[in-house]
């Protein structure tokens, strides 16, 4: 087990290193000059602009040699300082991100958990009978082949516009400001539902199909045949097959995280939902160096933490990893 976690930490460590380096590199190659951009919006005269330009260049430390900027970046990282956003000047990047994180968690956590649990249950059902299989399977394939944004658009149009049941933009109504009350919370949930649904449905299809295949595979395993030969009721055989099939589905979840994050990003764009994905896009469009860096960093950290959480759950659930007999796992 030590070996198992040792390898994981090495991968996460290297990934983090690589990601931070990419993160630091990105803005150096962004087209346009963010400071000039920012100043152009302030509509100053040429002299004042020049003074402020030098000031901000120094403040953002862009006049230092490259290697020093890199080290400074790491230093700032460990102090929790991700710079100041030029797009939302003068808010610090960290604060902008922290405002967006709750919306992402509210969207992603339920969507991932519920779709995984429900999808696996459904996939297991489908493996039971032929007629269920014939309905669930095509549905699953269609859902998993659907691009996230198109499902979002469809849901927005049908349930939002045509039927008028849900709002299709923002995290809460424009005439409200965040405060703790039933009215606000129910409004938030009302806005949350469609983006959640579109994330849920696409993933659900994928898990259902995967589980169905895994269950069939487990039902054909030697231990299943042995139980049948000993006259076990179907219930027990199916129970064992289900538990064993969950394991590869769990590691599959870890592998899907990158795809799910992409899906969330695009869903946020469709619904103008103020999560980190939406923020990243705005930052790119407005050439905000630091916000882009910050978003990317948060996304990476989020994915690594989620991966790690899944690794822990996996060890708890699969006795084989604990007894140190598996060499290769996700």
């Amino acid at each position: 087990m030590r070996r198992y976690f040792g390898r994981k930490f090495l991968i996460y460590g290297l990934t983090f290193l690589l990601a931070v380096t990419i993160d630091w590199l990105i803005p150096r190659f962004m087209p346009g000059d963010p400071i000039a951009n920012m100043l152009s919006r302030a509509a100053l005269n040429a002299d004042a602009a020049q003074v402020l330009y030098t000031y901000y260049t120094h403040a953002f430390r862009l006049d230092l040699p490259i290697w020093q900027q890199y080290l400074n970046f790491w230093n700032a990282l460990f102090h929790g300082d991700l710079g100041i956003s030029t797009y939302l000047f003068p808010t610090p990047v960290v604060r902008v991100l922290l405002r967006a994180v709750p919306y992402d968690i509210a969207l992603l956590l339920p969507a991932i958990l519920l779709s995984w649990l429900a999808g696996n249950r459904f996939g297991a059902f489908a493996a039971r009978t032929k007629w269920l299989d014939n309905t669930v399977l095509p549905l699953g394939y269609i859902l998993t082949a659907t691009p996230y944004m198109w499902l979002g658009i469809l849901l927005a149009w049908v349930l939002g516009i045509v039927l008028g049941l849900f709002p299709i933009a923002g995290a809460y109504s424009f005439d409200l400001s965040p405060h703790l009350s039933w009215r606000f919370l129910s409004d938030v949930v009302w806005h949350w539902f469609l983006p959640f649904a579109s994330l849920f449905l696409v993933q659900f299809g994928g898990w259902a199909i995967g589980m169905r295949n895994m269950i069939i595979y487990e039902l054909e395993a030697d231990y299943s045949h042995y139980l049948e030969a000993l006259g076990s009721p179907r219930r027990l055989v199916r129970n064992y097959a289900f538990r064993n099939a969950l394991l590869p589905q769990l590691s599959g979840l870890a592998l899907q995280l990158g795809v799910i994050v992409a899906g969330a990003l695009v869903t946020e764009v469709v619904f103008s939902y103020p999560g980190i994905g939406y923020l990243l896009l705005s930052a790119i469009q407005n050439q905000d160096y630091f916000l882009v860096q910050g978003c990317f960093l948060f996304i990476i950290i989020g994915v690594l933490v989620a991966n790690f959480a899944i690794d822990i759950v996996y060890v708890l659930v699969d006795p084989r990893t604990r007894k140190g007999m598996t060499g290769e796992k996700a």
Binding site: L10, I11, Y12, L14, T15, L18, A19, I22, I26, F29, M30, P31, Y141, I142, T144, A145, T146, P147, Y148, M149, W150, I153, L154, A156, W157, G160, I161, V162, I168, L255, L257, G258, V259, V261, A262, L265, V266, V269, V270, L280, L281, I284, Q285, V292, C295, F296, I299, I300, V303, L304, N307
Partner: protein, 285 residues
């Protein structure tokens, strides 16, 4: 023995319903992308309808956009872009994946460890985020660049699958036999191992094709696709941008998304069908 295998494969291939349905759908869209532009005399960006947005009619099969552009013309042109990205992006992804996976599986040892680590790292990083940022650098983007970048980030899945397959093949008796008889390494690779990998390559390519299509559509939708030309993702982007949702202009955003869903879905089904053909154990009795 080889000819018997080939014709046996064809026999099962043609009888497999999933393969037939899936392939038919994909080929239908492929055909549409090729001859579609010939069916209409409107170019995608021409302002052909002075009345602006119009629902589908006999004159404009898929209706027109807010600016009076022919949606059908945009659609068939966009299909071409989609297929192009699928081929190039999917092909590149498969190529890299096969090289990495095969080298790791065949060589083993330190090479395997290193390549495996690389694969895992690229797998963990959410590639869309990276792609977003990379494509944002580039002032001018074309379909080719987009495909290349997609190929460069989508290969880990294939690498893992090919690596696993190489491992199992490498330790099979017939490879040992070839090695014992003094065959050169490269010859072993090409004559003994490669034929068994063909099926996996095909399956991997189909999945990569579908994946590349989806990623490209997503990038295009966000507005970071090719700066010129039209694609299905870009159509959806434009539709949302110009309020097609609020104006109920379903003909603008439904066809592109439906086409992508159908093509990718058909690819998955084809994949399952092919898997059944290649693995006799999966064939239904």
């Amino acid at each position: 023995m080889k000819t018997a295998k080939g014709s046996e494969f064809l026999f099962f291939a043609l009888r497999n319903p999933k393969l037939r349905v899936g392939l038919t759908v994909v080929l239908f869209f492929l055909g549409l992308s090729l001859i579609g532009p010939l069916l209409t005399h409107n170019a995608p960006f021409d302002y052909v309808n002075p009345a602006g947005a119009d629902p589908p009619s006999s004159e404009y099969w898929f209706g027109t956009t807010t600016f009076g552009q022919d949606v059908f013309a945009q659609f068939v042109e966009g299909l071409r872009a989609t297929f192009l990205v699928g081929w190039i992006g999917g092909g590149l992804g498969t190529l890299i994946g096969v090289i990495v996976g095969f080298t790791a599986g065949y060589r083993g040892g330190l090479v395997d460890e290193a390549l495996n680590m690389l694969t895992n790292i690229v797998l963990v990083i959410p590639t869309l985020a990276v792609l977003l940022i990379i494509t944002a650098y580039l002032e001018v983007r074309g379909v080719l660049i987009e495909s290349i970048f997609i190929g460069l980030t989508a290969w880990p899945w294939t690498a893992r699958a090919i690596r696993a397959q190489t491992f199992s093949l490498r330790s099979r008796e017939f490879v040992d036999l070839a090695r014992l008889s003094g065959m050169k390494s490269s010859k072993i690779v090409f004559t003994e191992i490669a034929p068994n990998m063909m099926s996996y390559l095909l399956l991997a390519f189909i999945l990569q094709f579908g994946g590349a299509t989806l990623i490209a559509a997503t990038l295009d939708f966000i507005g970071l696709g090719p700066t010129t030309g039209i694609s299905l993702g870009l159509m959806m982007n434009n539709a949302v941008l110009w309020g097609a949702l609020y104006l109920g202009m379903w003909w603008w955003f439904v066809p592109p998304g439906l086409a992508i869903t159908t093509i990718v879905g058909a690819l998955y089904v084809t994949n399952v069908g092919l898997d059944e053909v290649f693995n006799p154990k999966l064939r239904e009795m």
